[in-house]
């Protein structure tokens, strides 16, 4: 590690090194689907080695933000940058190659139904590398072991797995190519508290094992408390007036929980407040 990079690094509260250099940047990004506006003028930086939690009400555009970051969607306005380089105008083939730096845990795990667990985890390796078969086998077993799954699940199809197991296989698949950046889309949604804790532990373990940058989209405040170095809260566009920023909070988890802004405190403490009346009226 160069002296420069050492000087540029802080340390996250999980012990990993956080660089001041943004790994991912969103510059005035907006996204519309047809006439429906999802994101407006989002500016965000994610630094190397940090774990950022992206929170907000359902439908405020968190998952869309994650897909924009991954380059799976193109922004309507603004630009997304990886290591200071814009994705605008880059060829799909180049993006496909660079996407291998990312691991993505999808909300429903998005395991390929027609493939076995082994084939799912090995997919990225088999598609993009010339690693020999026995080495692929070794890596798959290692990743499954890391996420606490026995080798006996290898021959099973995703339909035979429970929700928690699917999430863990999804995580093993996301980590198979040893990514530098891991994106987690609601990793604990739909899981019981114990399995949620297991997944949170795995996120922390991944961070401890290798220097990864992580973005966690979540509604789960326990996850935020446990894994996040920084919290960004998005607010639904439908509830904002013209000119207001959609990013209503950008700080540490501690600051988020101590905030007096009703939009933030109601969300992090799970209190509906006047939203209850609004929804009842609706």
């Amino acid at each position: 590690m160069s002296r420069f990079s050492l000087l540029n690094k802080n340390f996250s509260h999980h012990g990993g090194a956080v660089s001041s250099r943004p790994s991912i940047e969103l510059r005035a990004v907006s996204k519309r689907f047809g006439t429906q506006s999802i994101l407006r003028d989002i500016t965000l930086e994610v630094h190397q080695g940090e774990t950022l939690a992206l929170i907000g009400e359902s439908g405020c555009g968190k998952s869309v933000t994650l897909k924009l970051i991954m380059g799976l969607l193109d922004p309507t306005d603004g630009e997304v940058l990886w290591d200071g380089r814009s994705l605008k105008g880059r060829k799909e083939q180049e993006l496909t190659r660079e996407r291998l730096r990312f691991g993505y845990l999808f909300q429903g795990a998005a395991l390929f139904d027609s493939l076995s667990v082994f084939e799912n985890v090995a997919f990225g390796l088999q598609q993009n590398t010339r690693v020999p078969k026995d080495q692929v086998r070794k890596i798959v077993f290692e990743r499954l072991h890391e996420v606490g799954l026995p080798a006996s699940v290898c021959d099973k199809k995703p339909a035979e797995l429970s929700g928690g197991m699917k999430k863990r296989v999804g995580l093993a698949r996301a980590l198979a190519l040893t990514p530098e950046i891991v994106l987690y889309d609601e990793p604990t949604t739909g899981l019981d508290p114990i399995m949620s804790d297991v997944i949170n532990g795995l996120i922390l373990q991944t961070h401890a094992r290798r220097p990864v940058t992580s973005i966690v989209v979540t509604h789960d405040m326990t996850t935020v408390r446990k894994v996040a170095d920084r919290v960004v809260m998005l607010y639904p566009l439908s509830r904002l007036s013209e000119g207001e920023s959609q990013v209503v909070f950008n700080g540490t988890a501690k600051q988020a929980f101590a905030s007096f802004d009703p939009r933030i405190s109601q969300f992090v403490h799970g209190q509906a407040g006047e939203r209850m009346q609004e929804l009842a009226v609706g």
């Binding site: 897909k67 991954m70 799976l72 799909e92 496909t96 190659r97 996407r99 291998l100 990312f102 993505y104 999808f106 909300q107 429903g108 998005a110 395991l111 390929f112 139904d113 997919f123 990225g124 598609q127 993009n128 698949r173 190519l177």
Partner: protein, 279 residues
């Protein structure tokens, strides 16, 4: 007197037709780009055997029973419907010629393609649509694979390569069905049936039927995969994609059949001009 609002001016029948036409042009343009991308991937990276063979099995082998049954019954129906007309003219021995020419040139390819669109096209659209809805297509891209290369190219190749064989099977079964009913039930002598039938079916008829089927197979695969890739959200979206895949494929089959039929007939007369006769 009713007042007309400015917004009403934008919702006349002309506007609605305009919107539909615009939408149609956009979909056709998108389908064309999708096809070009698919062709690009097909020549850049051939799908591996482990992906291609299961698709060929699903599309080709598992379609055989339905294609065979359809072929046999169409042959028999043609015999039943044609027999009375031919008997009136005392030409029932020529029934085989009509059945075989109709099957080889038109009904065999069109029915095999229709069966393929119904059995395979809608299944492909539903499968790819479900993959889209459950983010599996995004997962493929996230894992460095091209969804078009991994999902569309093998399905296209399987349809494109196997539909001529399915057509040949449909033709063969139809010919057998027609022969069986004509000779075993309607009492036409087998020798006379084949004697006339062979005279009327030329190699060009067989080739033109098979050639048409290749275009049908390509259209079915492209339309079904395109609908699957552009499937709407939820179970309703998947269902709609499956229905659209069949309906659009069927319409495409008929349109292609008409234009190819015209083209191939013209080509025949260009290659083998009819002798000029003076009465």
């Amino acid at each position: 007197m009713a007042t007309m609002l400015i917004s009403d001016l934008h919702d006349t029948w002309i506007h609605r037709i305009g919107r539909r036409m615009t939408c149609f042009i956009i979909v056709m343009g998108d389908l064309a780009l999708f096809s070009i991308q698919m062709l690009g991937w097909m020549f850049r990276r051939w799908p591996c055997r482990s992906v291609l063979i299961p698709n060929m099995y699903q599309i080709g082998v598992r379609s055989l029973p339905v294609v065979m049954v359809t072929g046999v019954f169409i042959g028999m129906v043609l015999a039943v419907q044609g027999y009375d007309q031919f008997r009136l003219m005392r030409m029932e021995t020529r029934l085989g010629a009509v059945i075989n020419v109709s099957l080889v040139k038109e009904l065999g390819p069109v029915l095999a393609a229709t069966m393929l669109a119904g059995r395979v096209g809608s299944a492909m659209a539903a499968e790819l649509g479900t993959m889209r809805v459950t983010e599996q297509i995004d997962a493929l891209r996230a894992l460095g694979a091209s969804p078009i290369q991994y999902l569309v190219v093998p399905r296209f190749l399987a349809c494109f390569l196997l539909i001529p064989m399915l057509t040949a099977v449909a033709d063969g079964m139809g010919i057998l069905g027609g022969w069986f009913l004509s000779t075993q039930v309607l009492g036409i002598k087998s020798f006379h049936y084949w004697f006339n039938a062979i005279d009327y079916v030329a190699a060009y008829d067989v080739i033109s039927g098979v050639l048409k089927s290749i275009f049908f197979g390509a259209a079915i695969a492209l339309i079904a995969c395109h609908r699957g890739f552009h499937c709407g959200a939820g179970a309703e979206g998947v269902g709609r994609a499956a229905t659209e895949a069949f309906v659009f494929s069927f319409v495409a089959i008929l349109i292609i059949d008409f234009f190819l039929g015209m083209f191939l007939t013209t080509l025949y007369y260009v290659l083998w001009p009819a002798p000029v006769t003076i009465l």
